[in-house]
């Protein structure tokens, strides 16, 4: 009986400790709002993680230089602490737990669809605010504390369909999809249905895996089908190899990427611009390139600041931070609930002229509906000597 009493006491003590522990309850310490950024800083996706985080940090520096964000009459500076998830679902879960244990109330990320899906249960269990800037996968934003400031995966599909509608000459379409790309795989049926609804024919649907390097066999099969458009729905490294090998095997058709490569990445990975003839890219405009080509003043100024740290998702990071800062400034109090309430009431007019991407208003002029923004994608085309420009 005595043992039982001791056990009960120990259990009670444990529960008390757990209730008191698990990170601090202060949303800001010493006037600093700490943000946990869960991004791939090492591993194959690190090129995106490092550039996205660099843009977020630049935004934080900019706002801090102007005195920080004002919430309920108080000024706070922003501090971004990076957690490397290596774009690995298990690591993402682990570092997300670490961030929560360390008492972070504001979490940006994870970056990818797979890692975002893996941490979805932690999002649901936590009281923290989560913001997805790049991950396109459906699901996480069903949680009331998870907001997405970037595009949903359907934007990739819609960009392509809108563009195809303007190009009736494109009749026969083939596509190759990376089976590791959770978002693009989930959209494949909708894409095919949309293409067929436009009266075009999907003559071939192929698959590949992340890390493949030899695509000549599926490309040869595709070339035998006499297609007008070959869609490479893949990550950048594979996208580049597929494109090079299509041209090598004599394919001159239009190619459409979803890889989100910047001008600099094309230059580094492809070099030879003749390969890029008739290459388009569909999806949300994540890189600064097409904005710079259009002489957008925000893009020009921001490009100067981030320099060679600009990447495929610099726009997502820039605009995501704009929305976060606006949400904080509109909040009645510095708390997760205060921010969530403010974001749910945020008007497009509040961020107009501050973001790079165009956010179409939801009903009532709201930025968010069900924690999703209404962002439009576009198709860009490679222009020799310039890089990515908006396509007709």
């Amino acid at each position: 009986m005595r043992k039982l009493r001791w056990a009960a006491a120990a259990l009670a003590l444990g529960m008390l400790t757990a209730a008191c522990g698990g990170g601090g309850d202060e949303v800001a310490e010493d006037g600093v709002i700490k943000i946990a950024a869960i991004y791939p800083m090492t591993g194959p996706a690190s090129v995106w993680g490092t550039t996205t985080v660099a843009a977020m940090q630049q935004m934080a520096e900019d706002v801090n230089a102007e005195g920080g964000v004002t919430v309920d009459g108080e000024d706070y500076t922003i501090q971004i602490d990076v957690f490397d998830d290596e774009q690995n679902p298990e690591v993402a879960q682990s570092v997300a737990r670490e961030a929560l244990d360390d008492g972070y109330h504001f979490i940006m990320g994870p970056f990818g669809s797979g890692t975002a899906t893996a941490t979805q249960s932690l999002m649901a269990q936590s009281d923290a605010y989560w913001q997805l800037m790049v991950a396109t996968v459906e699901g996480p934003t069903k949680n009331p504390n998870v907001f997405r400031s970037g595009a949903r995966v359907s934007v990739y599909t819609q960009s392509t369909l809108d563009w195809l509608e303007r190009h009736p000459e494109i009749k026969r379409i083939a596509m190759i999809t990376d089976q590791m790309h959770t978002g693009l795989v989930s959209e494949e049926d909708a894409l095919v249905a949309g293409i067929e609804a436009l009266g075009r024919e999907v003559v071939l649907q192929q698959s590949h895996q992340l890390g493949d390097t030899d695509f000549r066999a599926p490309i040869t099969e595709m070339l035998s089908k006499d297609v007008d458009l070959y869609m490479t729905r893949a990550y950048p490294a594979e996208t580049v190899l597929i494109t090079q090998q299509v041209r090598e095997l004599g394919g001159e058709m239009l190619i459409q990427w979803n890889g989100g490569l910047t001008n600099a990445e094309v230059d580094e990975l492809i070099g030879d611009e003749t390969v890029m003839e008739n290459v388009t890219q569909a999806g949300p405009l994540g890189s600064l390139d097409s904005f710079i080509a259009a002489e957008n003043p925000i893009a020009l100024a921001f490009a100067e600041k981030v320099g060679d740290k600009a990447g495929s998702f610099t726009v997502n990071a820039h605009d995501g931070m704009v929305i976060f800062f606006q949400g904080l400034e509109k909040a009645d109090e510095l708390s997760v609930d205060g921010l969530i309430k403010a974001l749910n009431e945020l008007q497009v007019s509040d961020i107009e002229g501050k973001t790079l991407a165009t956010y179409a208003p939801h009903e009532g002029g709201l930025v968010y509906q069900d924690r999703e923004v209404n962002i439009e994608g576009a198709v860009t085309i490679w222009e020799k000597g310039t890089g990515w420009v908006l396509a007709d």
Binding site: S46, T213, A217, T220, L249
Partner: protein, 293 residues
């Protein structure tokens, strides 16, 4: 375009990479009886050194290739002296674990030096040749030519040159070779350096046709082991060349006519089926324990 012939040509192009990687592994495995799982990292190092010489230092492509081969050969020498020589009398499990650990260390070192982002080496020349109904890039045509030339050269070295006799003696019976006065250590070192250099050549040569990443050596090494297993203990060098091209053509036809995702599976299904029917490999060896080069 004739689709079937083009697919076979695609297979030949892919096979060139497999053959070059397997040849180096074959020499080390048959002579020193070391299943070196870090062999793929010699391939990766060749590619990364080619990148460093061509892109970072601006050295002309062909000179860079010679430098890459020499440096990888020297690294192979260092590894043989520091590690593999000591594993000569160790159990097969120790060699497997040791070489796997070495592979991981080398991958991490490559990642530390060059990062994890994919890198590209520019082609030294472009252009495409049409041979009847098939198309092949001029550079890939050159790769096939180099594979054939290297195979012939190594074949001559092993089966015609004096050094080859020593090599084969060592492969057949290490103790007897030692007793008959051969400098076994020296032959072992030369063989290892040669194997690493051939893998380095493969990496440097193939660098412009792929994206470089620290793990790029894994798949070719896996395929190389498949070819070695299929060839069996009595397999000669020609078997390796034919095996490399056959595996690649099989893989390519599977990708083209079944499903691109099935390409590796078909190769391994074929391997399992083959081993079930002929567990000793294509060529039996006279001795139960020794292999024949």
């Amino acid at each position: 375009m004739d689709v079937f012939l083009q697919q076979v040509t695609n297979g030949l192009v892919l096979g060139g990479a497999y053959v070059l990687v397997t040849l180096g592994l074959f020499m080390v495995f048959t002579t020193l009886h070391l299943p070196n799982f870090a062999h793929g990292e010699m391939f990766a190092l060749g590619a990364y050194l080619q990148y460093a010489f061509v892109v970072t230092l601006g050295i002309p492509f062909w000179i860079a290739m010679v430098l890459s081969v020499v440096v990888v050969g020297l690294i192979g020498w260092g590894l043989e002296l520091a590690m593999f020589r000591r594993l000569q009398n160790a159990s097969i499990l120790a060699v497997l674990v040791g070489s796997l650990a070495l592979a991981m260390i080398l991958q991490e070192l490559i990642a530390l030096q060059w990062g994890q982002d994919p890198l590209a080496v520019p082609l030294p020349f472009s252009g495409v040749t049409e041979i009847g109904p098939v198309r092949i890039a001029n550079y890939r045509l050159l790769i096939i030519g180099v594979v054939v030339a290297v195979s012939v050269l190594l074949g001559w070295l092993v089966y015609r040159a004096r050094f080859g006799r020593s090599l084969r003696a060592l492969a057949q019976n290490r103790e007897m070779a030692q007793l008959s006065g051969l400098n076994v250590k020296q032959i072992g070192t030369i063989t290892f350096v040669l194997g690493a250099a051939v893998a380095g050549l493969a990496g440097a040569l193939l660098a412009p046709t792929t994206n470089l990443n620290p793990h790029m050596g894994f798949h070719p090494t896996l395929v190389a082991f498949v070819i070695l297993v299929v060839a069996g203990g009595g397999g000669r060098m020609a078997t390796i060349v034919i095996g490399g091209f056959t595996v690649a053509i099989l893989e390519t036809l599977a990708a083209g006519y079944i499903d691109n995702m099935a390409r590796s599976m078909v190769v391994f299904v074929a391997l399992v089926a083959f081993l079930a029917l002929r567990p000793e490999g294509a060529f039996r060896v006279a001795s139960a324990e020794k292999v024949q080069l």
